[in-house]
Structures are given as C-alpha cells and as structure tokens.
Symmetry: C2
Subunit: 299 residues, 2 copies
C-alpha cells in the first residue's frame, strides 16, 4: 500500500506554506475559497483527503471574517474522511480578553478556544499572548504545542553590536528577558499605563548608564503600535539616537509601521507569523518539530 503524505491546506495562502511543505513530510492540498455575491463563503477541497492526516495553516490576524471559513474547512475535511485535522496558527488570536475585567464582558479567549477545540484535533502556535493564563492548557482542550520565537529574534540580534533590549511593559518582560539571556544582552523593562485602546503612556527606568548603546524594542505583538511609539519617545528623550524594533507578531494596524519609521525606528522586523513587509525572521524551522510530533503520534 502506498503511504500518502499528510496534506497541508491554507485558507489564505499563508507565506509559510512553501517552507513547511519543504521541511515537513507533507504536501500542499488543493483548496478553493471564494465569496458569493451575497457575502457567504464557498469552499471546495480538490484533493482526496480520505484516511490522510490534514493540517490547516491559518492566518488568524483580523480573525472575525476568517473564522467561519476556517470552521467550514475543518468540518469538511473531517466529513470527507481525513484521519485527523490539526491547526497550525502561527499567530493565535483572541488571547487578550483572558478575564472579565468589567462585569458583563465576554471572555472571548475562552469562547474562541472552545470553538477551535471542537473542530480541530491539535494545535501548534508561536508565542501566544499568555498574560494571566499560565498556559494554553487552561483554555484549549485539544493537545497543543507552543513554539517560542525567541531563538530567531536572538539570532537576528547577534548581527547588531552593543545593544540594550527594551521591553515596553511588564507583559513584554517574559520575551525580552528570554532573548536577552540567549544573547547575553542587557535589558530593561518599562511600565505602561493604559488610558484607552490607542492611548498608552510608557515610563522607563533610569537608563543613563546605557547611553551610546543601540536600543532595540522587543515585544510579542505590535498591533496599534502605540506602545512602541511611546517607548520610542521615552528612549529618544533619554538620549538614544539609534532605536530598532523587533517583534514576534507584527499586525501593524492602519499603516502604523510607516508611522513608526517616520518617528525614528531604524529597523523594524517581525517573524513571518503574520504576513507583513517587515517579515524578516523565519519561524518555519521552529514549527517543524512540534508538527512532526503530532504527525508521528497519529501515525
């Protein structure tokens, strides 16, 4: 009997598709997705998936309009006879609302996780925004493995000499401390006060001892970019003239990446977990190991 390779599908032609197919024992499955004139989605899977392991590589940035097609894809792969359907979500959305900050709020992280857990058999992601949750185990009921982006950020930093790593706020400390340890860089962490979705202020500790170093702002997710902007301002006021920014997930809402450059960010780099021109750090090699574990377990 011929042994068929696992099949990899991507609803958004994710740029990691080719690299993953090259590095995994997997081949690309044919998938057609389009919208009808009435705004409903149409999906057609053009590869025979019977008794084959299937992986869905999904971009979950700006998730709302992508969610229902993702559910349709997972359910249809199962209906058509796939032996297992795993989700590779390099960026895992809906991790921020992790408690009911105010009475009546939807704890979207839990509801989202439960919907995903119903339709997929396992999950691999890169650096989920774990803040008050200690692990994805608290909300995802399916087996899951988390990849850390720190090694690729540390590798990129190895090319820059004499740096000070700056985490804008307490939430970023877990990332900046890890990357600092890998490259033996000094690091500091600021303090964030949030006044609204797009209105934050950052206070840095005394960093006068580091003047002359190149500052590199490190964060896990950059979306509205206001935290990075405020951090840049604080660094400039402290006399730092060279400021770079490296993040794992670069969402960069409303062209904020251009604003960041205009305001003085010299180099702006992100991992290729969310499609963006700033993608300079490739996580495909990191994803291969945990995916292979799932593929081999199910085999």
């Amino acid at each position: 009997m011929v042994k068929h390779l696992p099949l990899l599908f991507s609803p958004q032609n994710h740029p990691l598709m080719q690299a993953l197919c090259a590095k995994l024992p997997a081949e690309q499955g044919k998938l057609l997705i389009r919208r009808f004139p009435d705004g409903e989605s149409y999906l057609k899977i053009d590869t025979d998936v019977r008794q084959r392991q299937c992986l869905v590589l999904a971009d979950l940035s700006n998730p709302d309009s992508k969610f229902l097609p993702l559910m349709f894809l997972a359910a249809t792969l199962k209906e058509l006879g796939a032996s297992a359907v795993g989700l590779v979500a390099p960026y895992l959305s809906y991790m921020r609302q992790d408690i009911r900050f105010h009475e009546g709020e939807a704890v979207t992280s839990k509801i989202f996780a439960s919907l995903i857990s119903e339709k997929f058999d396992w999950l691999v992601t890169v650096d989920p925004h774990l803040h008050r949750y200690h692990s994805l185990d608290e909300i995802y009921s399916i087996p899951r493995r988390v990849v850390q982006g720190a090694p690729v950020l540390a590798e990129w930093l190895a090319g820059i000499e004499n740096v000070l790593l700056v985490g804008p706020d307490a939430e970023s400390e877990q990332w900046v401390s890890k990357i600092a340890a890998l490259g033996e860089h000094p690091f500091v962490v600021g303090e964030k006060t949030r006044h609204g979705d797009r209105n934050v202020s950052i206070t840095l500790p005394d960093i006068s001892a580091f003047t002359g170093k190149k500052a590199v702002i490190i964060d896990d997710v950059v979306s509205s970019g206001h935290t990075v902007l405020e951090c840049l301002g604080a660094l400039q006021r402290a006399g730092f003239t060279t400021v770079d920014c490296a993040c794992v997930h670069g969402i960069f809402t409303d062209g904020i990446d251009q604003v960041l450059r205009d305001k003085g960010i010299r180099k702006l780099v992100s991992c290729n977990t969310v499609v963006h021109p700033s993608n300079a750090l490739d996580v495909s090699a990191l994803l291969v190991t945990p995916i292979n574990v799932f593929l081999e377990e199910a085999d």
Copy 2:
C-alpha cells in the same frame, strides 16, 4: 417577587428592535460591541441577565464577519446566567449550499446550522431559502419556527390593480404561488439557467395573454440582482412596460438596487428583514406570535 420581562439584544441595532420591544413582552438589553485595533471584537452586556430569558435579534446578511461576535454574545449570555437564549434571525444566511454539488465542496448550510444550534436554544426566522431541504428540521437541531413573508407581500400587492406576478425561476415558485393565492392574482414562473454567480439567463413562458397588466417580479432573496435583471429584460421584450419587484429579503449587493431602477424597475420593495432603503414591508407583527410561543413555553 418582581417578574422581569425577557431581554432583547441586537449586535447590529437591527431596525426591528423597537417594533419587537413594543409588540412583545420584552425590553431592550444594553449591549456594547466594538472592535479592538487588532480587529478582534469586544463585547460587554450591560444589563443583568441572570434567570432572564434572552433573545438575540441578528442581521445575518454578509454573515462571515458577524458570526464570531454572535457566538461570543450567545455564550456570554449563558455564562452570565440567562435562563434561555433564543435567536431571532429575520434573514437566515447559509441556506444555499444544501448539497455537495461537486465533490469536495463544503455543505455550509449544515455546518452553519450545527454551530448555531450549539449556542442557541431556539430559532425564529422569516422565509428561509428552503430549496432541496423540505424544512429547517433537516439541519437545525434546536426548536425552530418559520414565519412566512407572503401575507405582507400580498397586502402590499392589494394596493396595485391588474397585476401579473412573475417568479423568475423554479425556486421562487413556492413564494409566488402562495402570494398569488392570497390575492387571487394570476402568476407565471420562468426558467433559469445559471452560467456563473453573476451570470444567469431567464426564459419566460408565453405571457402574451397578460399584455397590459402590471408585472410584479416576486422572489425570496435578491442578492446580486442578476436574476431580477434578466427577468425584467424578458418582460420588457414581451411588451410589459410597468414592472415592479417585491422580495422578502433584499441584500442588493454592490448597489444593484439602483441598477434595477435604472433599467426600468418602477417600484422596488423588500421586507425589513435585512436593513435596506427599499424596506417597505414590516414583518414585526408576524414575528411576535412564534417568539411568544417560545417565551411562554420556557416560562
């Protein structure tokens, strides 16, 4: 003990909200929905829902981006202690892909129905597009009641004399025949050949016996509008100079309603199931009876 009224929530401030609150024993619940800069949804329910029956009045036209917030709302109402959560969806989306026309297609109607059935306790809708399904029972596992828009269309037609009702295709026959019977109007049904999403042709039977009558095209859903456009052309070629169009659900993609008027549709009217300037037919009174049945059953 004070007996609290059921609460009605609408994620999109549906125009039926006020009429339903006035006609039902129900009051409007306070709901805040907004999007974060990263595209994720935030929901907050600002009315105490504990031990109260809740109704969600949802616009499901262009459903994909509305679906996840709807799931968040239903799940959160339950979490916060609502005694039951019913869905009032005046327009029920994802009814068209009801079989696998081609190998590999997602049968989206079934998957959508199953997701809705998991989160809601009951469903009330107006004229779902039942074509190959005989009833919603085949796909929705929750109790459901269907309202027919025919009476309000028939009432509107009573104001126009000497009409010929025209159903563009076999799928519309169930609606046009019902409305014709209510008003004792003659009707004909055309034949549609579909060449693509926006490319159809309509053939009408010999209608020379009706020349001089006002033609009224009747359909359940008008979305791309191409079926109505082709039907209008066929009527014009057959010598009909006055052509109106009345539908239950008017989605009217890409400003097609203006094209329809420009090409010669005199009056264009729809029910207020999908928000649109053509809404001239009010279904609120029709919705009240089945909703009350559910409210009383649960009481």
